[in-house]
Symmetry: C2
Subunit: 213 residues, 2 copies
């Protein structure tokens, strides 16, 4: 009998801290200009201490991206699959994804561009997971379109535009500013859905437009 | 009497070519890893030939950003200032900005992040011009809000979200793909305005909602 060890809470928190801090430094200095030593120093660890968790810079980059996709899966994809109504699912995806992006100045999200720096096997794995997420978003809109609930927009443009609104957040959102993460996430979802969704047919059937001359 | 020389058309085209090619290489390799020699080679010029146009790598970076802001001014800001109706102005700004971003894989736009790499004086000049553009976009939405024509959205979130939709374009738009630049720009504008604009009061006055039990 194999005993599956429970994931250690402290270890998970340490992983998040290492990934976020490393992502911030790589973002500031660039991947090539950042050494494992720089990252260890920022974490208040020795280089040897950091090597206890990761085997090198490339492995760290893969770990950061894996961490990012794990967050998307656990906090966006899994809850979304439980939501039957496509409009509610779309709203939930946008709000939950935006919420993740507001953390740690979006450092982990921002690092997505570095996916090309990964060795082929790692890159493929991450890109496959990104694709699954993209498809969830696109399929949700396709479902709305099929039900006549989407405005007349191209699905590709719509999907990438929603992602653009979310992924631009790290460029301007400041923790502790006038707008908190909750408010910003909700506003983005409202604006996106406002541009995408037609009034529900049920509601439209009960209302009629009368032109008054 | 001073005779103002007309800008030479060929020189302007050469400037655009140098800026776009340089931006693409810097984007691919990173600013630090790119040499003036790399850029000259990509342009089919000698290093000496390129130095005829620019005095060095930092000057080139400033020139690329100046070129980018010149495009925004000439093709977005100037025409927008001629449009009295705020909704039409907003639509024009989005379509025209998106159109610029679809050129040369958005290399010039993408380089905006490197603004921090500029010496202080150049950085200030570019950031001031970016601010003017940002304010035009925000003020246009503020005008719509004051007229009761904007949905209930925060102006900061709305402005950055529109920019996010536009500036994400280089990540996915491919020249010669299924969707051309014109179509994509129009779709983005339609989606953004759909999420932002209330029906015009004039139209709303002529229509009445009647609930049919």
């Amino acid at each position: 009998m194999t005993i599956q060890p429970k994931p250690d809470k402290r270890l998970l928190a340490r992983r998040a801290e290492i990934c976020r801090t490393a992502a911030q430094i790589i973002r500031e200095r660039g991947y090539d200009a950042t050494s494992v030593n720089d990252i260890a120093r920022a974490l208040g660890m020795t280089k040897a201490g950091l090597y206890h968790y990761i085997s090198g810079k490339e492995a760290l980059l893969l770990e950061i991206m894996t961490f990012g996709m794990d967050q998307i899966d656990a906090e966006v994809v899994v809850p979304a699959r439980e939501i039957e109504d496509a409009e509610e699912r779309l709203r939930s995806i946008i709000i939950r994804h935006a919420r993740i992006v507001t953390r740690a100045q979006g450092a982990v999200t921002n690092l997505t561009d570095e996916v090309r720096g990964l060795p082929a096997a790692g890159r493929k794995k991450i890109e496959r997971r990104m694709r699954v997420y993209f498809d969830l978003l696109r399929d949700t809109m396709a479902e709305l379109k099929a039900a006549g609930r989407l405005q007349d927009v191209d699905l590709t443009v719509a999907t990438f535009s929603v992602l653009g609104m979310i992924l631009f957040l790290p460029r301007w959102f400041r923790q502790g500013g006038r707008l908190n993460a909750e408010r910003v996430s909700t506003e983005i979802a409202r604006m996106a859905l406002g541009g995408l969704i037609r009034p529900k047919p049920a509601r439209a059937r009960r209302l009629q437009l009368v032109k008054i001359p």
